[in-house]
């Protein structure tokens, strides 16, 4: 149950923002991830810039986490 906001993640060798399988009820908003390079999808719907493999993590939909895989 963490709050993750206003962070910028660029050009990393794996996912920009990764919410792992043990993450739970985090809130993430206004984050920007661009140009990251996930070598493989970590969860359904994940992208090279973002992966949510946890449970009940929520966003208001105001992140910039593009590049669908």
């Amino acid at each position: 149950m963490n709050q993750i906001e206003d962070n910028v993640m660029t050009l990393n060798g794996d996912v920009g923002l990764w919410l792992g399988g043990n993450s739970f009820k985090n809130v993430y908003r206004r984050n920007t991830a661009r140009g990251n390079q996930s070598p493989s999808p970590c969860a359904i719907g994940s992208t090279p810039d973002f992966c949510d493999a946890g449970a009940k993590n929520t966003s208001a939909g105001d992140n910039f986490l593009p590049d669908p895989q």
């Binding site: 709050q3 910028v8 990764w18 399988g21 985090n26």
Partner: protein
């Protein structure tokens, strides 16, 4: 003649008064400090054998490095160390080079301040605090260490540690730039980190603020927050805001994996 003698006396008195007024005790050789007080280093100090250059053995000690350098070629002892769980200790304003660690508090303590120090070239961690509460590490440069730049962890009881790490430059470390185990209410704010393994690693943190840090070219994850099965801790209630992570070898910001390796870095397995 009388006038000259009077002037000489005045000069001597003024010199004495300068030290007495400021209440500072000069250090010009490797020293074990056993009394409380405000100490000031008056020359560069060097050691090439066993032991630390400065060992702190009491509470309420302030050490002003006075812009001088403490250098140790001894890779088995830290350059500066606390000899026990002492409190109200301040180290500031100088260079600490070499040693097993630059600055080591191995067994507890409270109200420890490290500020304005260049810590470089340690065989292990640059700054390591074990079981120290109410600490502040700020405005320092921590560079070129074989393990972590700054390593903070709770004591043997896995209790929590509280403190702040702010406005430091941490670079070129074999381990994490900043690693904190069991932090509770720790602030990691405004640091610049480059060329480390993990940039900022927090294991089982609670109520911590990780804000406005810049992590560049970490070899592993830029910032990660993990649970720790070994230590029985879970993370929660932390706030990460305004951080910029770029060019890491692995994940930019990773939340919610599981640490299985205790205090080591990088030995995690994502669930």
């Amino acid at each position: 003649m009388k006038k000259l003698f009077a002037l000489a006396l005045l000069g001597a008195a003024a010199g004495t008064r300068l030290v007495a007024d400021e209440g500072r005790i000069p250090i010009s050789t490797p020293t074990t400090i056993t009394k409380s007080g405000h100490y000031i280093v008056t020359r560069d100090l060097f050691i090439n054998g066993p032991g630390s250059i400065l060992a702190i053995g009491n509470n309420h000690v302030t050490i002003d490095l006075n812009g001088f350098s403490l250098q140790s070629l001894n890779g088995t002892d830290p350059v500066i160390r606390s000899l026990g769980g002492f409190g109200s200790l301040t180290i500031r304003n100088g260079t600490v080079e070499g040693g097993s660690a630059g600055i080591l508090f191995p067994a507890g303590g409270t109200r420890v301040v490290i500020e304005g120090v260049l810590v470089t070239g340690a065989d292990q961690d640059g700054i390591r605090l074990n079981g120290v509460n109410d600490f502040a590490i700020r405005r320092s440069i921590i560079s070129i260490h074989h393990l972590d730049g700054i390593h903070v962890e709770a004591g043997n009881g896995y209790s929590e540690v509280v403190g702040t790490i702010e406005n430091n430059l941490v670079e070129d470390c074999g381990g994490s730039g900043i690693e904190i185990l069991d932090g509770s209410g720790v602030g990691v704010v405004g640091n610049r980190i480059r060329g480390t393994d993990q940039g900022i690693a927090l294991v089982a943190p609670a109520g911590c603020l990780i804000s406005d840090n810049t992590v560049v070219a970490a070899r592993g994850d830029g910032i990660f927050i993990f649970d720790d099965l070994t230590r029985g801790g879970a993370h929660g209630g932390n706030r990460l805001s305004g951080n910029a992570v770029s060019g890491s070898g692995s994940v930019g910001i990773a939340i919610g994996g599981i640490e299985t390796g205790g205090s080591s870095t990088g030995n995690f397995a994502a669930a």
